[in-house]
């Protein structure tokens, strides 16, 4: 049965950007892994690119509100995130897949997603439907009753994506979601991303430039905790007409990094 539309669904949004960061600084241990980042993101699929140690995972953790910012402004869905804010209501609207995540091996896939749905405060009578829908979207409905420890790496990753979308989040954060997926699954995942991006602010961190070009509406390039580039994938391809790399997008990526580092050396 279709449920009535709640007043909350019809309420106009009172913020311009789903994610807004100004001069954001976040610590990873003692190091400032995100150091003065300015970024505004609305609905769509945002591909977060950058070399190892660029601060992608730290940024994702800050957006997931599991790391508090050390400085600057971070607003999620118009809700400021700082040391004292109560995040409970905000977190109901966030889906997060960490880069490395574990699970309890004796749980079935369905129990795992149900448990996370409960933790995300999905209303109890909606949980079975929401879990089934999430499993169908990632193509795991048939393995719903298998134990987590019997799944292959790609299936575990898909179960992780299912738990991230089970609460129909308005901000969806996926840290390296395509690791371990085979080419066919990757294609299915890209179409799922495009579908989700129509009504959701999806941030996907990845190493694979071609994933970004194929599935993302925006490219965010980071280096050493700072924003290097924010634009469309076409701009990245445009920049890569010449340079080092196999595809024009990869050439665009290396070209942007090279220019950024050269500019950094000049000012230093």
């Amino acid at each position: 049965m279709r449920k009535g539309i709640s007043a909350a669904l019809l309420a106009p949004t009172t913020y311009a950007w789903a994610i807004r960061a100004v001069e954001l600084r976040v610590r990873a241990g003692r190091r400032l892994a995100v150091d003065g980042l300015d970024l505004s993101m609305g609905n769509g699929v945002h591909g977060l690119l950058g070399p190892n140690g660029a601060g992608k995972t730290t940024l994702m953790r800050a957006l997931a509100t599991v790391s508090r910012p050390a400085g600057g402004v971070l607003e999620l869905l118009g809700h400021p995130v700082h040391a004292r804010s109560d995040l409970r209501t905000l977190r109901r609207s966030i889906g997060y897949l960490p880069q490395e995540f574990g699970f309890y091996g004796r749980f079935t896939v369905r129990e795992f997603v149900e448990y996370l749905a409960w933790l995300k405060e999905v209303p109890a009578h909606d949980i079975p439907d929401a879990v089934q829908r999430a499993l169908e979207r990632v193509g795991l409905a048939e393995r719903g009753d298998s134990r987590m420890k019997t799944l292959s790496g790609g299936m575990v990753r898909r179960a992780g994506i299912a738990q991230a979308i089970v609460n129909d989040p308005e901000i969806l954060l996926l840290d390296e979601p395509t690791v371990g997926l085979d080419p066919e699954q990757r294609l299915a995942f890209r179409s799922l991303l495009r579908e989700l991006g129509e009504h959701t602010c999806v941030v996907v961190s990845t190493h694979l430039v071609e994933d970004v070009v194929a599935a993302c509406t925006n490219v965010v390039l980071m280096d050493a905790g700072r924003l290097v580039f924010h634009g469309g994938p076409a701009d990245l391809v445009e920049l890569g007409r010449e340079g080092v790399g196999d595809s024009s997008a990869e050439r665009g990526y290396t070209e942007l990094l090279r220019r950024h580092r050269a500019a950094g050396e000049r000012t230093a």
């Binding site: 977190r91 309890y104 448990y115 405060e121």
Partner: protein, 268 residues
Amino acid sequence: MNAHIPVRALGRYAAGDPGIAADVLWAMETHLEQCADCRSRLADASDGDSMALLATVWVKVEAAMSAAEPVTVRRRWLPARSARWVTPVLVPWLVTTVLVVLVALGFDLAVAGRGATPPSLVVLLAPVAPLLGVATAWTGRLDPAHELVVATARAGLGMVLRRTLVVLVVVIPVLTVAGWMVGASPARWLMPCLAFTAGALALGKVVGLPRAAWGLALLWATVVVGPSIVTARLPVLLSEAALPGWAALTVVVALVLLPRRSGYAELR
């Protein structure tokens, strides 16, 4: 809603006759939605082709149903829903705690049999007995799903308290029975036990639960357990005279702990 649909009209409807006017069609469908009699007559009014098609569909559906694997309902000693109160990770540590108490009890009984009266090990260990379970209740090092759990709406002191409650529900009865067997009333150790648990939770907000629990356990071992074994006298801290002091300490710590809610909702 008294008038039912005539058989001829039903026949035309079932055949998909384009000649039925839109308003009549709408009225018929509204009626069909509410009238089980007319629906069953509609099924009979269908032509031979449709009936044959339906029959083949039924044969295929039944074949598919019988080919599908029967769902096996596994019986478990710890159902998945219990994860709302205790993680599978916590269980072995609880078992270890119970074993430690039993070993202490065995030691006490063996010593008492020889006629000597050193301070009871069970009473000496009781105040810190829950700390092993409490230390493992909320930590990324042992719990593989910790990063997923910490990012959810329910994460925080509430979840930590749920898990702590399970630890206490398991440990306190075991201590009570063991204490009764060595002739020590719960009045001697119960308040210190609660004070240490509350203290670990309060400190854990700042330094993380495992570190807080280990620190307190080490403090107790060096300041109280060691000296009282050496001097063979039960310390004043575990006498009934110290009871009001422990109660006051528990209340103060709980008052410090309760107002700040967000301490456990991030990674450390």
